[in-house]
């Protein structure tokens, strides 16, 4: 394994933002990293594929989603929650 949830998510987001993983910090917002709405939808897809989870997210209501995308740290926390919920670990 080696790569934990945080590392995986940083790798996915860095790839989307065309940055090095070192340039993505836990406090970064997607906006800071230059990821637009289309990039966000693509990142969520990559996260779903990487963790084999389903992320509840409607682009029409990003603020009302249970999936918090306000920062990289928030995304990591949300994904950890979904992995635990959907894979029962």
């Amino acid at each position: 394994m080696g790569e934990n949830v945080q590392d995986k998510i940083i790798r996915i987001i860095a790839e989307q933002a065309v940055l090095e993983p070192e340039d993505v910090t836990m406090t970064s917002t997607l906006e800071d990293l230059g990821i637009d709405s289309l990039g966000l939808v693509e990142s969520i897809f990559a996260i779903e594929e990487a963790f084999d989870i389903s992320v509840p997210f409607n682009a029409n209501q990003p603020d009302e989603s249970d999936f918090d995308i306000s920062s990289v740290a928030a995304i990591v926390k949300a994904v950890e929650g979904l992995v635990a919920e959907q894979h029962g670990t």
Partner: protein, 403 residues
């Protein structure tokens, strides 16, 4: 300048199998959106749509026809029969040569692609039916209409996603106005409600799982529909000379491109198309009483569209009515502008403005008269129909009451 009028109309969609039933639904504010009935629906996360239910192609077409007609072609032919049968036109000689077909569809034979991919990939078959290509091609519907009625003039299909039908009808209008044809069969069709067709849309995360609520603050996305509407466009003197029943006049058309983003709409691109259609029609903004909105029910479209209308019309934006019938029939993608033109003609002819149903909460970013939930009686002499497609391609039609 040659004038262009509408002398026939037909449709099949989630609200009804013909024009009178569809217009009744518009008047009643009836919703045609419901649970999808299609193979593997349990594997979809979006399970609703504006589907043509209890549809039995074998009751309408023979076996040879079904082998060649994808569902989108079937819908087209059903609507075209209504528009053309009883129009009193006999397509032979010069009239046949001066009549063409321009139809919009975004996906063409989506069900045919879907079924045959399933067959070769999932079921591992190494052979498909010989007519797969002529069945799925986007121009199949236009071709079959030309063959059915012997229409030998300019014919083609137009694919500009959600603006396909408006582009098709606008080009048909320009062909007649410019002298390239005297009569055009035009409109559009879509049959994308298959497992693959819905799954593709799910990916974008712009779909609602419960309802299409255009302009409402609690809107949460679009809902797909299916069906067709087909119209007979005719040069005015030609129609008058034969005493045709004129439903409305097409007076203007404009197309613009945002040249910006592949999915996000642009207020400027939409406003330029609206203003362009008004200019082409030589309409003063204050003559327009009703706009059939693109109104998809997504967060982005509805606020951008309202801002574009406010910009194009200035103070008059507060006096006109704008509604989205997608709340009732769903978004027919490449066929949507055609079905929505029915609401424009009804407004001009019958003085009934179709409502935006499912409207629950005002949105300050959509602060126009969206005719919430109930149809309204109002005399209007000129109307617009908006279509703003993915890819930033915008097409707006302007109509007046029959001369």
């Amino acid at each position: 300048m040659r004038r262009v009028v509408i002398t026939g109309q037909g449709t099949i969609n989630a609200l009804g199998r013909d024009v009178p039933t569809t217009l009744d639904a518009f008047r009643e504010g009836r919703c045609g959106i419901g649970p999808l009935d299609l193979r593997d629906v349990d594997r979809l996360s979006v399970k609703i749509g504006g589907q043509v239910k209890d549809y039995d192609p074998e009751a309408l077409f023979n076996r040879q026809q079904i082998a060649l007609y994808d569902r989108f072609t079937q819908f087209t032919l059903i609507a075209a029969h209504q528009a053309l049968d009883g129009a009193g036109l006999n397509f032979s000689g010069d009239l046949a040569a001066r009549t063409g077909v321009v139809l919009g569809t975004a996906g063409g034979g989506v069900n045919t692609w879907d079924e045959n991919y399933r067959s070769v990939y999932e079921e591992g078959k190494n052979r498909v039916h010989p007519f797969v290509v002529p069945k799925l091609m986007n121009n199949a519907a236009a071709s079959h209409v030309s063959m059915e009625w012997n229409l030998r003039g300019p014919s083609f299909s137009v694919a500009t996603a959600c603006a396909s039908s408006n582009h098709a009808m606008g080009l048909a209008f320009q062909l007649i106005r410019g002298g390239g044809a005297d009569v055009m069969v035009t409109g559009g069709s879509e049959a994308m409600l298959s497992f693959g067709g819905v799954k593709a849309w799910e990916g974008l995360r712009v779909m609602s799982k419960d309802a299409c609520r255009p302009f409402s603050a609690n809107r949460n996305g679009m809902v797909q529909g299916e069906g067709a509407a087909v119209f007979l466009f005719e040069e005015y003197e030609h129609a008058r000379a034969r005493g045709a029943d004129i439903l409305a006049e097409i007076v203007g058309f404009a197309m613009t491109s945002d040249a910006a983003d592949i999915v996000m709409p642009s207020q400027q691109g939409a406003a330029r198309a609206i203003i362009g259609a008004l200019r082409d029609a030589k309409l003063n903004p204050d003559e327009v009483g009703y706009i059939n909105a693109h109104g998809t029910g997504t967060a982005a479209n509805d606020k951008v569209e309202c801002a574009a209308v406010a910009h194009a019309f200035g103070a008059h934006a507060d006096d006109l009515m704008i509604s989205s019938t997608k709340s009732m029939h769903g978004h027919l993608i490449g066929g949507t502008g055609a079905v929505e033109l029915l609401a424009c003609i009804m407004a001009l002819r019958d003085g009934v403005i179709s409502p935006t149903i499912g409207y629950e909460e005002p949105d300050p970013e959509c602060a126009l008269d969206v005719v919430p939930n109930e149809a309204r009686e109002a005399e209007v002499s000129a109307v617009l129909s908006n279509a703003f497609a993915f890819g930033g391609m915008n097409a707006v039609l302007a109509l007046r009451a029959a001369p």
